[in-house]
Amino acid sequence: MTVPLVDIRDLSVEFNTRRGTVSAVKRVSLQIAKGETVGIVGESGSGKSVTSYALMRILDRAGRIAGGSVVFGGVDVANADKRTLSELRGREMSMIFQNPRAALNPIRRVGQQIEDVLLEHGMAKHGNARDKAIKMLAAVRIADPEKRYSAYPFELSGGMCQRIVIAIALACRPQLLIADEPTTGLDVTTQKTVMELIVELARERDMATLFITHDLGLAATWCDRILVMENGEVVEAKPTRELFAAPSHPYTRRLLQATPHRDSRVCDLLPVDDPRRAVPSTAAPGKPLLEVKAVTKRFGGASSRPAVDALSFQIGEGESLGLVGESGCGKSTTSAMIMRLLDPDSGQILFRSDDIGTVTARRFASHPARRSLQMVFQDPTDSLNPRWSARRSIADPLYRLAASSRRAAERQVNELAERVGLSNHLLERFPHQLSGGQKARVGIARAVALSPSLLILDEPTAALDVSVQAVVLNLLVSLREQLGMSYLFISHDLNVVRLVCDRVMVMRAGQIVEQGPTASLLTHPSHDYTRTLLDAIPHPPASSRQPREAAT
C-alpha cells in the first residue's frame, strides 16, 4: 500500500475562549490518497472546517493543535516552521472558500490576482505570467479569457468569481485542494457546473480533493469517501455508497433522514416518535386571497430591463404557493412589493379584492391590512435588532398593530414562544446569544404574532442546518394548519418547496416561466428551465430512502 498524501492521526484542536478551553476537534483521523475525493459532512460547529484549517495550519490565534499528528506528503505540518508552511500553502495545497467575492481583492483585475500566486511561488516570470494566467482562465472554462483577464471581481457573477478563485487555487498545480463549502450561496445550476469543474480538474491533474460541506446530497454526488462529523468527532467514515446503503451511526441516520429527498414528506424528516412532526394538510384552497395583476418594477430608467416584468398570479385562502428561481430572478422584489415595502411601477396588488398597491410603502404601516400581511426573512440574524431581546422583538407587532396592553402582550409572547418551540428563558436573550435555529423561531413567532392571513417565507431555512431545517419546516406546516394562513414560500431549493407547497411557480428574469400543482410540475416539468433546475439538484442515493425503518 502506498503512503497517503494526507495523513492526519488523532488530531485534536482547542480554542481558548472567554469561558475557558473549548475543544473543537477531538481525535480525528483522516487519510487522503493521491487523486481521491474525500468529503467531510457535518452541521455548523461540528469541527469540519477547523479540521481543514489545522491541515493548512491557518487556525486563528485562539486555536492550537493540542494533540495528534498532521502529515502532508511526508512533511510534519503540525510542527513545521513558517518557511516550510508558506512553501506548502498555495503550491502544494490550496483552499477555496465559501464566499468567492470575499476571497478576491475587489480593486485588482482578476488576471493580475492569478499572476500574483504564480509569481509568488516562482511558477512564472514577469514575461510569461500573463500568458499563464490566461491559460488558467481558459482551464476553468471561462469564455473569452483574454477579455476576462482585465475584469474586476464586481463585474463577474458569483459563479464566475468562484471559477477565478479555483483558478488561483490551482494555478500552482497543488497536490491537494481543500474546498470549504465552495458552492454554498451559489444557485443550483451554478453549483452543478462549479462542482463538475472541480472534479474534472482534479481528475485531469490527479489531484486529491478534500471537500467540506453540510449538504449530504452534494457530498454523495461527488465524493469517493465521506466522513461524518458531530461535535468535533468523526462518527462515521465510509466509502460513499456504503455510507448511504448502511449508515451505522444514529447521527448519520438522523442526518440522512433530515435531508429532503425526491419523495419524502415533511414529517419524514423527523423521527417517528418526535412530537414536532406535522401532518401535511390536504385542505383545498378557498377563494383568492391575493391577486397580483401585471405588476412591473424597474430599478433604473425606463429603458432598463425590468426586475419584475408584468407579473400576474394569485394565492387562494389557505393555499401554500412556492416561488422558485435563481438569484436575480426578481423573487425578492416581488415579495417586497406584496409586503408593501416597495412600490410597484405599474400593476395592481389586490388583497381581498382591495387594491393595496395604491397605498405607498411609506404609508402602509398604518394601513388596516398591515397586520394581515407578514413575512419571515431569509437571514434570521440580520432580521432581528441586535439590541433588542427576543421578547421585545416578538412583542413589537403586538404593541404597534394590536395595541395590546403590557400584560396581554407578555402573555401572548409566552404563548407564541411555546407555539414555535422556544423555551421561556430564551426570551430574555439578545440575538447574538441565540443559535441560528432559535433566531429563526423568534422571526417566525414575530411574523405569526398577529395571525396574518398571508405569510411570505423568504428562504426561511437557507441559513439553517438540515436537522434544524427539518424542525422548522414541520413547525411551518403545522402553524399553517392551526392558524389557517396562506403561504408564499420563496426558495431556490426545490426539494424544500416540494415539502411545503401545494402549487409552485418558477420564475426567471422577472417573469413566470411555469406554474402548476407541486407534484405534477416537479415530476413532469414542461419548460426546459424547470428541467434544468430539477436536474441540478444533488440527491443522496436512492438507497437512503428508508432510514426511518432502520432507525426504529
Binding site: 472567554r18 398591515r370 400581511l373 440580520d382 422583538s393 413589537d396 398593530l401 439578545f430
Partner: protein, 299 residues
C-alpha cells in the same frame, strides 16, 4: 465555523433584574481590561472633585494673602501658592467643576443635535441629507479652534458662549458618524421587519436604528470630552470666556506661564497636569463605555 459558544450561555440572565445585569456587566468590562478599570477610577475621582470640590479644598480658592505669595509646594500648600497667595491645590480642585461642566454640556449639545441631524440625513437621504452635509462641510472647512474663537469673540465673552462654540465645532463629528451608521443599517432585515410590525419611519429611527448607533458614538463622546476640556481651557488661555479670578485650568496655566521664566514652575505645571490627566482619562474611557453599552459584549 468557529467553535460554538452560544449554547453554553448560562440561563441565570433571565432571573436577575436589569440593574443587576448592568452591574455584573460593568464588573466584567472592568475586570477584562485593567486600562478600562483605571479609566473608570480616574473618572470617578474627577466626578468627586467636580461635585464636592468646594468642600474638599483645604483653602479658600479665592482668598488672597500677599504674605504667602509665590511659595513653592509644601505640606501646607501641596501645589504651592500663586502671585496673590492663593492656594493652587484648592484652585485646581475647585476648577474641575467648571471645566467638566463646560465640556459635558458642550459635548451633550453637540451629540444630541449632531446625531439627530445626521441620523435623519442618513435615514431619509434626499435634500435634507444634502443640506446637512454641506452645513457640516462648511463647519469643518474652518480651523476649528479659530472658529470657536470667532464665535466667542462675536457673540460675547461669556461661559455660555464658550459652551455653544465648543458644541458647534464638535457637532460635525456626530452628524457624520450618525449619518454613516444609520445609512448602512436603514435597509437591514430588522428595519424591514419593524416596518411589517407597523412602525413608522420616526419610530424606526428612534427605537430601532438609533440604539444601534450608540456604541461607536460612545467612543466619540469620550474622545470629544477630552478635546472639549482642552478647547475650553485653550479659549480661557487666550483670554476668552472665563475671567479671572474664577479658578479654571486654562486661565491658571495662562497666568502661571508668566512666572515659569522666573522659576515659579508650580503655577502652570499643576493645572496643566490636571488638564492632561482629564484628557487622558476621557481618551481611555471610550473603549470601556462602548463595551458597556454594546449588548454584543454581554454574555
Amino acid at each position: 465555523m468557529r467553535a460554538t459558544t452560544a449554547t453554553q450561555v448560562p440561563n441565570t440572565a433571565a432571573k436577575t433584574t436589569a440593574f443587576g445585569r448592568f452591574v455584573r456587566h460593568l464588573g466584567y468590562v472592568m475586570t477584562e481590561n485593567p486600562v478600562t478599570a483605571l479609566a473608570f477610577g480616574l473618572f470617578l475621582i474627577f466626578v468627586i472633585a467636580a461635585i464636592f470640590g468646594p468642600w474638599l479644598s483645604p483653602h479658600d480658592p479665592l482668598a488672597t494673602l500677599s504674605a504667602r505669595a509665590l511659595q513653592p509646594p509644601s505640606w501646607d500648600h501641596w501645589f504651592g501658592t500663586d502671585q496673590l497667595g492663593r492656594d493652587v491645590f484648592s484652585r485646581v480642585i475647585v476648577a474641575t467643576r467648571l471645566d467638566l461642566m463646560i465640556a459635558v454640556t458642550a459635548v451633550a449639545m453637540a451629540f444630541v443635535v449632531g446625531s439627530a441631524l445626521g441620523a435623519i440625513a442618513g435615514y431619509f437621504g434626499g435634500w435634507w441629507d444634502r443640506i446637512t452635509g454641506r452645513l457640516v462641510d462648511t463647519i469643518m472647512a474652518f480651523p476649528l479652534f479659530v472658529l470657536a474663537m470667532g464665535i466667542v469673540a462675536a457673540a460675547g465673552n461669556t461661559i455660555d458662549n464658550i459652551v455653544y462654540a465648543t458644541a458647534i465645532i464638535n457637532l460635525p463629528f456626530y452628524a457624520r458618524m450618525a449619518r454613516a451608521e444609520v445609512n448602512i443599517r436603514r435597509n437591514s432585515g430588522f428595519v424591514q421587519a419593524a416596518r411589517l410590525s407597523g412602525n413608522g419611519d420616526w419610530r424606526i429611527l428612534a427605537f430601532q436604528l438609533f440604539p444601534n448607533v450608540l456604541p461607536p458614538m460612545m467612543v466619540q463622546i469620550s474622545l470629544n470630552l477630552g478635546w472639549a476640556i482642552l478647547n475650553a481651557a485653550g479659549l480661557s488661555f487666550i483670554g476668552l470666556g472665563v475671567r479671572p479670578p474664577t479658578p479654571e485650568w486654562g486661565i491658571m496655566v495662562a497666568e502661571g506661564a508668566n512666572f515659569i521664566v522666573s522659576g515659579e514652575w508650580w503655577l502652570a505645571l499643576f493645572p496643566g497636569l490636571a488638564l492632561m490627566l482629564a484628557v487622558f482619562t476621557f481618551n481611555l474611557l471610550g473603549d470601556g463605555l462602548r463595551d458597556l453599552v454594546d449588548p454584543l459584549r454581554r454574555t
